[in-house]
Amino acid sequence: MDAPDNTLLLDLDGWEGPLDLLLALARQQKVDLREISILALTEQYLGFVEQARALRLELAADYLVMAAWLAYLKSALLLPREPEQDPDPEELALRLQLRLERLQAMREAGARLMARDRLGRDVFPRGAPEGLRTVRHARWQAGIYDLMSAYGRVSARNRPVMHVVADRPVMTLEAALARISALLGTRVSWSAIESFLPGQAQGAFRRSALASSFLAALELARQGRVELRQAAPFAPLYLRAPA
């Protein structure tokens, strides 16, 4: 811990990752990154990691990964060149240098950006603009036909209307009661309710006759004058005279 830059090197909090540390080391070496010695940089970095170890400082894993990779790069650069070696260590060194250049370029670009005349800090928009307004108007549309039909609708709604119920073919409950009572005496066994309807009954009249006959059957059953049988809901309904 004799060299003054050691204190800088061990200030771990200041580094944003191994690449950042490498860039700082490289800039100590040369301002122009294109002229740095990758080999020297590698040694500096490995020396830094060594010192951290000696001080029992815990280094984040990515610093150690970088150290391992740089140790590999260093040995590849120092060993006699094998023509077919892949990847080419010189190329790896060049890429590392390019990465450092790229990071430095972006760091400088960020600083230049922040130093620009910034809106709201150095230059200002109008403090109290009147503002622009977009006013939407409805252009109401209706035609004479709309008007006529609306008035027709209102008038028709208010005219007195006489409701006439048309004469419809029905079988009254009384008729059904009389018919079933009369027919029951002629039947010897269970007969479906449909067989009690008039033979000529069709359509609405047949439905009316069926409804009334059903009610009549219930009424007769209540009076004990008929017996009803149905095997299941909606199954045929059978009638017979009580035994």
């Binding site: 200002f124 928009p125 109008r126 403090g127 109290a128 009147e130 503002g131 622009l132 307004r133 977009t134 006013v135 939407r136 108007h137 409805a138 252009r139 109401w140 549309q141 209706a142 035609g143 004479i144 709309d146 008007l147 006529m148 039909s149 609306a150 008035y151 027709g152 609708r153 209102v154 008038s155 028709a156 709604r157 208010n158 005219r159 209307v161």
Partner: protein, 197 residues
């Protein structure tokens, strides 16, 4: 844009201009001076700025000793952009308009009686906004309710030369518009108090 001559230093003029522009409220000359941090007499600066902006789209004005920029008064119309959107009149509004046209002048209560349904405040407003209906005095009965009538704009829009051109009841009947086809339905129709117009 700089006028020739004048004894006001340019940098003072520019600074005052920028301060007034960026200010969120009208400024007294003292307030401007405080920003500048110097003891200059601002009166000639402000007067010259005002003169330079005279006739432009922006002007510098003084109100009760405070100065501010504003857009020129005659350009107020360009700051407002009007957009027309065609919209169909609602059924409630169409019926109300028809009743007013056939029975004018009528009160709102009378319109409601004829329609058999209440009408919302907005319905008549829409018709007035459209320029088809106008207030036409008051009926001299207790409460003096407002009367409504149609406008010349109404006749123009519907292509009528006078109200006598409105189709009569016989015309409506002939056109099949009085047939009570769906009136059982209409009677059941629910109309909310806050009718959409």
């Amino acid at each position: 844009m700089r006028t020739a001559g004048g004894t006001v230093p340019d940098d003072l003029l520019r600074a005052a201009e920028a301060i007034l522009f960026a200010a969120t409220e009208p400024l007294t000359p003292d307030a401007i001076r405080a920003h500048l941090g110097l003891a200059a007499d601002l009166r000639p600066v402000l007067e010259r700025l005002r003169a330079e902006y005279a006739g432009r789209g922006i002007e510098l004005v003084e109100r009760a000793g405070r100065w501010h920029f504003q857009t020129a008064a005659d350009l107020a119309h360009v700051l407002r952009r009007d957009r027309e959107e065609p919209r169909r009149l609602s059924r409630a509004a169409t019926e109300t308009l028809a009743i007013i046209a056939y029975h004018e002048p009528v009160t709102r209560a009378e319109v409601e009686a004829i329609r058999g349904v209440q009408i919302s405040k907005g319905t008549i407003d829409v018709l007035m906004e459209a320029g088809w209906v106008r207030p036409a005095g008051r009926r001299e009965v207790p409460g003096r309710p407002l009367l409504y009538a149609t406008t010349p704009g109404f006749l123009a829009h519907f292509g009528l030369s006078s109200r006598r051109d409105l189709p009569g009841m016989e015309d409506l009947r002939a056109a099949g518009l009085l047939d009570p086809i769906d009136h059982a339905m209409a009677a059941f129709e629910v109309e909310s108090p806050a009718e959409q117009d």
